[in-house]
Amino acid sequence: MTSMCEATTRALPGAAVIELAGEVDGSAAAVLTAAYERAVTASADPADLGTVVLDFAAVDYINSTGIALIVSVLARARAERRKVVASGLSAHYREIFDITRLSDFIELFPDLDGAVSQLGTA
């Protein structure tokens, strides 16, 4: 199945931003995994990469398989002692992050600027 998900990655001091667009479903697995890899390798010092920001502002669909992918990213980040935060979720998907308890482990911000501005203040 062709993926309808795109991801762009950019490095910030001590953090990486993965901006997602389109649909986060089962077809997005390779895109999301590759984006995470790029986020780590693009860091000046991968060992110093403390936070991964997932921006969903341009995402219009997340299904249960997409939730599973996000769980996998979070599990990997936790194992590597990195924090994951999210921005740009619609009210509906914020509710789903609450119901699944993802929001217990991923701090949510209304927008990317808000997420980035708190980096280094934690």
Partner: protein, 157 residues
Amino acid sequence: MTQVTRPTPERLDAFTVPSQPGNERLALARVAGTVQGRGLSDARLERLKTAVAEATMNAIEHGNGNRPEIPVEVEVTRSGHDITVAISDQGGETHPGHGDQEEPDLLKKLDGDQSPRGWGLFLIRNMVDAMDVTTDGQRHTIWLTMRTTGAAHDEHV
């Protein structure tokens, strides 16, 4: 004894989609178009769309085994204040898309003690006001109901 007359369900739409991954998007878009303007708030419509997509995914994958020649049947009805979406496949009694599945536990998933997957039925149950499952021979149907007034799951976000 007072007789209670239940309204006869009014069929709003009925259609099929081939059992191919991704076709749940067709089902959710068509159901959304059918029920829009019939008393569901935007937030509750989003919940119904998610439930329809997840139930159709289960029907495509678990019920019909991703075989495009076996259609998933979708029927939308209204009865009084209830809007019900019935999604049927040919998974029969052995339908693995429901039953005694372990409740998803995020901490177990993060610790590797549970698969990261397994959110579908959990999401459906939490999105709609009522969910029921029936089986008639090979025909397996999941019924998703949303009330258009006084609903228990109304906005809390």
